[in-house]
Symmetry: C2
Subunit: 318 residues, 2 copies
């Protein structure tokens, strides 16, 4: 999004400076993940939504950085929880510095994130972001308790991605109009845009895991399968399958028999039941809601750019 | 502290309610630790320091609960980082529900903690507590990077306990006068009281690990030794020791040869060099500073009670 490029430069600088510490291990661990080429979609939402409502101050750069730190902290903790070896095609921090450093540096970034929010001084923005922090953690625990359970329903799955992904997208977009002192309708519009974009984004991510290539993805096809993660492509293929096919999924996901041979078989079943296309179909549904959330706002180059973000998020998969 | 008993009851109720969630695992994990008989010294500091400065509202109960949640979150993460099996004489949450749940429920409590602070609405209190959250995490990383290194100096160690313990005591005591709109001198007095009490408390804890009995302590003599933790009794005994004794400490702590026989030997060296008494001596030093921090304040039953907390914290060890 070219329109926020200048602000984004300042976010990048603030990220580096606030991840700094006299304790040398902190910037090492933090920068490993921060510099690994994330899309920075969440902070961009905060910048764009503030500017869209005419915000003139400096607070949006701090809030955008806070949002990115919350996200980074979550990734550091997630990799520990999921015992992941790779993230965005690089070794995870926990593989290099250990689980301990990943947990603690995540905590540090969360603390820095809240400090920056406090500096901005908007209690409403603080409320939105602190609530998101709780909801994200709650969603991760929920994911843990449905993990490796093939009876997980599409509704359960949607609850998980609402909490672990959509809630932060929603908060990132909502704090823009808040600090710009926009009216309630403006806040609701941006919250809805963010929330539904978040759903679409996560659904596409989950589809890519069974269909993209490692270069696009920064991860390999089948990573979710190998970790026994239950995502929508798997849920759909399982629920639409025969008795024998369901038994296969149980063995593969619940008992962790995730050989390459089984991955091939899983990909075959996902294709057989059109589960990837239907996952993208769901993403398109949320994308449409996100688009309509912006409908009442007057046309502007920034609004157009935010609409393009929806298309970009969905068209990553082909 | 009888004088805050009514408020403390309400903190206990709020703890239970804010640790609640529809995700069943969250209250299970949280309450396991919360109900394990911690002293609740930190929230008591917040309650007492608010009332001492004439605070009449409800915010101190929420802030006290926030402080206890920050502490609980830290303990959950600490047990993961230290790979601890026991805490306060009970199995740690990670032994029952796994590291994953401990990390995530800790994150949830941190989120809930910030939400409650935001509800109170004091940006100054938020600033103090958010800063403490960063400093605590920074201190834990520092502790990680000095771990099992026998060349750790007393100054390094003091930096660690300042960050991981004293900073939260200081913040807990400082937010009281802040929400009571006390003047700067009042804030500084309570911050200094909390900070120095925190140092004294941690030093005594570290001494107890080589001298108390399991019943007092909720842990066993030698736990720190078995985990290879470097605390002041060890630092003093090492630095005062002969070449041969230093070689022993290196083997025991750095190479983890922490047999019962080696623990006996370590206890003997600590006694030989009076390292336990001198650790308590350091605690008394900080206790005196904490006492003097309160000196300018007018006499009151609450002030007397806060002075007694210093004595109580130090006299746990005998």
């Amino acid at each position: 999004m070219d329109l926020t490029r200048g602000d984004m430069e300042r976010v990048n600088q603030l990220i580096l400076s606030k991840a700094g510490s006299d304790v040398q291990m902190i910037p090492e661990v933090a920068n490993h993940l921060i510099s690994s080429g994330g899309k920075r979609l969440r902070p961009m939402l905060t910048l764009a939504s503030a500017v869209l409502f005419g915000y003139k101050g400096e607070g949006h750069v701090k809030l955008a950085t806070s949002v990115e730190f919350m996200h980074t902290a979550t990734l550091l903790h997630d990799d520990v929880v999921d015992e992941s070896d790779l993230r965005r095609g690089k070794s995870t921090a926990r593989m290099i510095w250990g689980n301990q450093a990943s947990v603690l540096v995540g905590d540090f970034l969360l603390g820095q994130s809240f400090k920056m929010m406090v500096e901005v001084g908007s209690l409403e923005a603080l409320d939105v972001l602190a609530t998101a922090a709780s909801v994200i953690a709650e969603g991760e625990v929920l994911q843990l308790s449905v993990a490796k359970n093939m009876e997980t329903t599409e509704d359960d799955y949607l609850s998980v991605i609402r909490a672990k992904t959509a809630a932060l997208f929603a908060a990132a977009a909502e704090v823009g109009p808040i600090i710009a002192n926009a009216d309630k309708a403006g806040r609701s519009a941006m919250r809805s845009y963010g929330m539904n974009l978040g759903y679409a984004f996560q659904l596409v991510d989950d589809a890519l895991d069974y269909g993209g290539t490692a270069a696009d993805l920064g991860k390999n096809v089948g990573d979710d399968f190998r970790e026994g993660k239950i995502t929508l492509p798997v849920i759909l293929a399982y629920r639409r399958g025969t008795e024998t096919e369901r038994a296969f999924w149980k063995t593969a996901i619940e008992q962790g028999e995730s050989s390459e041979e089984n991955l091939e078989k899983a990909l075959g079943l996902i294709k057989k039941y059109d589960a990837l296309n239907d996952t993208i179909g769901r993403a398109l549904h949320y994308g449409t809601i996100a688009r309509d959330a912006l409908a009442p706002l007057p046309a502007s180059p920034l609004k157009s750019a935010m609409l393009e973000v929806i298309d970009f998020s969905i068209q990553r998969v082909n």
